[in-house]
Symmetry: C2
Subunit: 326 residues, 2 copies
């Protein structure tokens, strides 16, 4: 069952893939001492609780529904350490990445496991980050069993975007298709899919878009479906920026920066476009996010040979989506 | 967590959807008295163990790995009843369909739960079958708690093919597409997808195929990938059967019946074909099984407007597949 529980943690983490930028996506499952599942949670957004704290506070709520917990991470951590009454003694955790051992925006998760007297922590992938690492060493010193390498290959896939944007630039291409492979039509994917895409828009450093699309669709390219921050834009065009109609909504978004090249400081970049844009840029892309509806239509498909390797696939309502690399 | 466990049972059952014909697809999850997951199993094939017996014997193996179990269902049932030593006392079961209470090819599952002193059985859907039903009543009489209606809507979706083929005829259309919606090319889906399709071929009463495909592909249309039984064939053609080249491999399969119409006694029928075949027959189809690869190519897509509602989606290696209705 080790793999089963780690897979639950991995799947939960993938749901927030790209949204945790610049942090890695991490998932955590907590079992009680009898191996009953208490919680399955993930790190959801940079600045918010680590996966471990999210999972432990969820488990706390389940075991002590009468106690209301503080929201802020430091206060939450402290409250749980003071009020746990031994309810987590001999519990078991599955974490997709080695728990942190340093005080960042949130207190160290390794300390949380040890304060609560966990029996064992299963870890998929070792954290190679010099500041955050050595959580496992800390756990072992506190007498907690640690086992590395559960679904390690899967855990490494989950970390790929993080490792790339941490080192240099990570480029994601977003594509929406009907089931018969057509990107054409006013709205191809459903609201859940588009909301996820807007969440990503509000996390990225830069959205890259073609001049052709801008002239044809006159888009706003914001993150309204998740009430998020509209991204800065890079317009790929042979024309001069001055030649665009400045009444196109995207130019009216306040505080938005608009580039015609990719600035070096942009580390997480999303490309959005159709067939031509994909053809022009596919070779510089790290990963593809492809939404696909459950409908066939009578429109043309895209015809660009591309052998993709799926890293993760899931459903958003009646749509499917996959995260792929070459 | 009730929904979580029932969803595990449902997902496991869907993996064997169509393969249990003429039986319904059923899944079962067993938890011990502390709510630790012991097993997740399904009914896999008509004549083989019911989901409940499969799940209980899997849990037995986990708790008593030193004891080897008999294979045959009646012997297995009897052995577990005699040798359980109380290991299932106060256990909990999640079953997608009300457990049977009649002696069929296998002994009644309701009796098994009661012999083993289960505490509670959660059931998604009530069994309306007159012979097999009343398992819940039997359980209650034996002092076992029963709770109906867990993910009932999902449970009913799982039963749809069964309810249709039991009453009249169930028609499934199988389609294999690339990610950009093309059915063209020598092999579109991977070996896992094709093996599942062959397992279905070996379960159905009849495979319906177009005369055009037969002349173009000269197929054998057997179930070699699962070493299963080659299905009987119905050839949809305007020509006379005599006009086909009898050296086409499908005509050489021993004991195969070949029709040009659908015989009334065929209750589970699979259609296999491409764009034209889909266009001609889509309106008489109950469900669509659509395999989709992770590759884009430069080939034409199919262009038949079809708004499908997914009942289940999953992955087979790098392929995805969905089971849809109109
Ligand atoms: Zn942490
Ligand atoms: Zn049964």
């Amino acid at each position: 069952m080790k793999n089963f529980y780690m897979q639950l943690a991995l799947n939960e983490a993938w749901k927030y893939q790209f949204l945790t930028y610049p942090n890695p996506a991490v998932g955590c499952v907590i079992l009680d001492k009898n191996e009953k599942i208490l919680s399955i949670k993930a790190h959801e957004k940079a600045g918010c609780n680590h996966a471990e704290l999210n999972a432990i506070s969820e488990a706390f709520k389940k075991l002590k529904p009468e106690i209301s917990l503080p929201k802020e991470a430091n206060a939450l951590h402290e409250f749980i350490c003071k009020n746990h009454q031994g309810i987590f003694k001999d519990s078991i955790a599955f974490v997709t990445l080695e728990p942190c051992s340093h005080q960042g925006k949130t207190p160290p998760c390794a300390k949380l496991f040890s304060e609560l007297k966990f029996k064992k922590v299963f870890i998929s992938v070792k954290d190679e980050n010099k500041i955050a690492s050595n959580g496992a060493l800390y756990l072992k010193k506190q007498g907690i069993e640690v086992e590395f390498g559960i679904l390690e290959e899967e855990g490494k896939k989950l970390l790929k975007p993080f490792l790339k944007w941490q080192k240099e630039q990570f480029k994601l291409f977003k594509l929406a298709l009907s089931m018969n492979g057509s990107p054409y039509g006013k709205i191809v994917s459903n609201e859940l899919s588009r909301t996820y895409a807007h969440q990503i828009r509000s996390a990225i450093d830069l959205l890259v878009i073609g001049g052709e699309t801008i002239r044809a669709d006159r888009p706003i390219l914001d993150a309204r479906l998740c009430k998020g921050k509209a991204p800065n834009i890079c317009i790929k065009t042979h024309k001069n920026l001055e030649e665009f109609d400045k009444n196109i909504p995207l130019f009216k978004v306040p505080n938005r920066k608009i580039y015609t090249h990719i600035p070096e400081e942009a580390k997480f970049i999303m490309y959005e476009g159709g067939e031509n844009f994909l053809k022009n840029f596919k070779d510089e892309i790290d990963m593809f996010l492809i939404f696909q509806s459950s409908n066939l239509n009578n429109k043309e498909n895209i015809k660009i040979p591309l052998n993709l390797t799926p890293l993760f696939k899931a459903n958003l309502g009646e749509d499917s989506y996959g995260i792929y690399e070459f």
